[in-house]
Amino acid sequence: MSTVMDAEAPAEARVLNGTLHKFQRVNEIIDRHGKAPSNLIAILQEVQKEYRYLPEEIMTYIATVMEIHPSSVYGVATFYAQFSLEPKGKHIIKVCDGTACHVRNSQWIIDSLREHLHLKQGEHTTRDMIFTFETVACIGACALAPAMMLDGEIYGQLTPDKIKEIIDKIVAEEGE
């Protein structure tokens, strides 16, 4: 009887939803890396992939399991730019504000992006959680300045019109 149940259960049963399975994967990640404090960064990187950011409770839990103080985990998570403590949107826009882009008026691009995304000062992610907007220092595409990276792909020689086109396209796709 049990074999029948085992074979069928995963397909039929409603799976526990919410964040329980993510939480389970956090535990797998810690187990795989081991609890030595030197593994913290690698653990945080993988956990961030699960949640798209580092939730406070999860960082506290990681501290609990690794037997270090939450303030140390928080210190590491806030030191590296790769970690985000806020939920990130589905699409990540990184506008370059390195030297070349800056002199090619990247501020113009930044302002127009903020306007299109309806982001107020200090906000980075749109309320519908579709876009997260960041500025970075040089993405290595200086010849295309002003440039930005959207989900890992480079867009160059930007103008406010181009920005509008790119954003509108994604918004339309997401709307479907």
Binding site: L16, N17, G18, H21
Partner: protein, 667 residues
């Protein structure tokens, strides 16, 4: 010429005799190098760069983090080092809220002292404009991030000496701050309020939360009778502020000064320390006879008590149920003495003068209030008492000593040594020995438990039993000792714990500098004072006798329990839900705590079992499963709640069965 074992400092040879860094060697040569981040008791950090010296062939090196090598030639004050020190100081000052006139640390601030020493007359850099909010969440301490110079002294104190780590660096570059995790406030995290961070902070970034104004208000209120109790450790430190040594009658001077300031009565906490000894020793002897929980841990230190509640919930039954001397005094004052004076307890304003910031937290613990009236109304640290004496214009150095008031103004040597690490244990022995043997103790000195070492052990032979004692100060040492007890490696009958290194003489509210040199002197003076006392054993205190006769009957009586004892509960360090099934239509809510204590007892495995069972049995949509943090039932964990009700006895190995019988069946 340089021989094998010398370093040339400013042209003269200095012999290396075990110094671990150039800073110590330079000090030996009679030169004081400026430092912010160097403390001999903490790890070397090398961040402030004030102690830079020029080493021939190597250029500029931080003296604190460079080990001396034979043949080295160093210069401490060259054009370069002086220029850099001034530059560093200017940069720090540009980033610093220079409101010296209203700063609590003014005159003891290292930043201020060094600016004076280097005679800085101008700061070439623009001042920082970002202003951060002061953290006023704690009853014990105030954090002002605008005054932080990022030396990390508090960070290392909290993690290395106290093994807690509430404070750490966060962010990067110009955004770096020191603070608790997740921008929380110090009153919201697992800080035990010991104040050692404030004691090492070179500036006013962490200071003692003052209650001076509350006390002045009470003094000026004609409806209040204001009484003070003075803790043991104050009598060897208050003189430091007035250039008075151990020969000055400091207790008498305090009594006289405080009466001039408007206190109605001045009493001695040593009296309730003696009461503590009678209560605690009898409690211990009962446990020894009846097979109760041993070792008994002392409970006088509120930093340690909160630490135990947070980190060692399984040891709470081992803590003595005795209140601290401060709270015993408060209880007697409000519950008995007020009636004797014929006044309402709320009009008897009890002020304690303590070496300690954690006492401020202890005084506001809800169990020490009755009908909204706290038993101790305000706690002043040594620092605040000195400030009040000065504010009142009382010439402490000239004021003639006066006797303390009765009935609570009588101390024995046993009460006095409560201020030293080992003092409580020694006082217990002075009473316990006589109580057990029925013979008079010929030599009351138990020197084996004295001294500033972090962990001390002793075995004391009594006729029928040999008592094994451990005495620890510093919570890192406490943690180490507890781990040894838990692993079965060490066995004790009595463990004395004090949070601050060296005990209360090194408390977080004592006068600055609270360094090793001062702690050694204070310890010595307290023992000298004890040696000169006419009564040196708690049981010889005639007032203690009277208190039992008049009010409490005998030690550990019902009345004594009501007035002098307390209870403890596990205290969460974190709260909230961490993973949630979000199934609001479910019939059954099942939460599993994955906080530290429960996690260590396998609660995560239980959660996993529940998840697996729920999904395999097709019950996932009928239950709402959650992983949460602490329910403050740590000593009864793993904590599982079903529809809000705590269930007992679930363990990883019976989780499947529990799910079947208590969860699946309900659905």
């Amino acid at each position: 010429m340089a021989n094998e074992n010398t370093v040339i400092i400013n042209g003269g040879p200095v012999v290396i005799e075990g110094e671990v860094n150039l800073l110590e060697l330079v000090q030996k040569a009679g030169i004081e190098l400026p430092t912010f981040c160097y403390h001999s008791e903490l790890s070397v950090y090398g961040a402030c760069r004030m102690c830079l010296v020029e080493v021939k062939g190597r250029g500029l090196q931080a003296a604190c983090s460079t080990p001396p090598e034979p043949g080295m030639e160093i210069e401490t004050h060259t054009e370069k080092t002086q220029k850099i020190r001034r530059m560093v100081l200017e940069l720090l000052l540009a980033n610093h809220d220079r409101e010296c006139t209203t700063c609590d640390k003014s005159t003891v601030c290292k930043l201020q002292q060094l600016s004076q020493q280097l005679k800085l007359d101008d700061i070439r850099f623009k001042n920082r404009t970002k202003h951060q909010e002061k953290d006023l969440s704690s009853p014990a301490l105030v954090r002002d991030p605008n005054k932080c110079i990022l030396c990390g002294d508090c960070v290392r104190m909290c993690s290395e000496i106290q093994s807690i780590g509430v404070l750490d660096f966060a962010n990067r570059g110009s955004d770096v701050i020191v603070g608790p995790a997740f921008k929380k406030k110090i009153g919201e995290v697992d800080c035990v309020n010991c104040g050692q961070c404030a004691a090492v902070c070179p500036t006013g970034a962490i200071t003692v939360r003052s209650q001076m104004q509350n006390v002045w208000q009470a003094i000026q209120d004609p409806s209040k009778t204001v009484v003070a109790q003075i803790a043991p450790a104050i009598r060897v430190t208050v003189g430091e502020a007035f250039g008075l040594g151990p020969d000055a009658p400091l207790m008498g001077k305090m009594a006289a000064s405080m009466r001039k300031m408007g206190f109605d009565k001045v009493y001695d906490t040593c009296l309730t320390a003696d009461l503590t000894i009678l209560e605690e020793t009898n409690e211990f002897l009962q446990r020894l006879q009846n097979g109760g929980k041993l070792p008994i841990f002392t409970s006088c230190c509120p930093g340690w008590v909160k630490f135990a509640e947070q980190f060692y919930p399984d040891l709470l039954d081992n803590l003595s149920t005795c209140r601290s001397p401060q709270q015993m005094f408060g209880s007697l004052a409000k519950n008995y003495y007020a009636a004797e004076l014929g006044i309402d307890p709320k009009d008897l304003y009890v002020v304690s003068v303590m070496p300690c910031t954690a006492k401020k937290f202890e005084a506001v613990r809800p169990e020490f209030s009755k009908d909204g009236v706290p038993e101790v109304d305000a706690v002043l640290t040594t620092q605040e008492l000195v400030a009040m004496i000065k504010e009142a214009g009382v010439r402490f150095d000239e004021v003639e000593a006066r006797a303390l008031d009765m009935p609570f103004g009588f101390a024995t040597g046993a009460g006095v040594i409560f201020g030293n690490s080992g003092g409580v244990a020694e006082a217990v022995l002075r009473y316990g020995y006589e109580k057990v043997t029925g013979q008079e103790l010929a030599d009351v000195d138990f020197k084996v438990v004295r001294g500033l070492e972090g962990i001390k052990e002793a075995e004391i032979a009594l006729p029928e039993v040999t008592l094994r004692l451990a005495v620890v100060s510093g919570l890192g040492n406490a943690r180490e000792l507890i781990e040894r007890i838990r692993s079965g490696e060490a066995h004790y009958d009595i463990v004395e714990v004090m949070t601050c290194p060296g005990g209360c003489i090194g408390g977080g509210g004592q006068l600055l500098p609270n360094n090793m040199e001062n702690r050694q002197r204070r310890t010595r003076e307290l023992y000298a004072m004890d040696a000169g006392m006419p009564f040196r054993k708690s049981q010889d205190n005639p007032i203690v006798d009277k208190i039992y006769q008049k009010w409490l009957g005998e030690p550990n009586s019902h009345a004594a329990h009501d007035a002098l004892h307390t209870s403890y509960g596990s205290r969460r360090r974190i709260k909230g839900s961490i993973a949630d099934d979000n199934n609001n239509d479910a019939k059954l809510d099942v939460s599993v705590c994955v906080g530290t204590s429960c996690y260590q007892r396998g609660s995560y495995n239980i959660l996993q079992t529940f998840m697996k069972e729920a999904e395999e049995q097709g019950l996932a949509d009928k239950i709402n499963l959650r992983a949460t943090f602490c329910y403050e039932r740590c000593n009864k964990g793993p904590s599982i709640k079903v529809n809000g009700k705590q269930v007992k006895g679930v363990k990883p190995d019976n989780a499947v069965e529990f799910f079947k019988n208590n969860i699946a069946k309900e659905l």
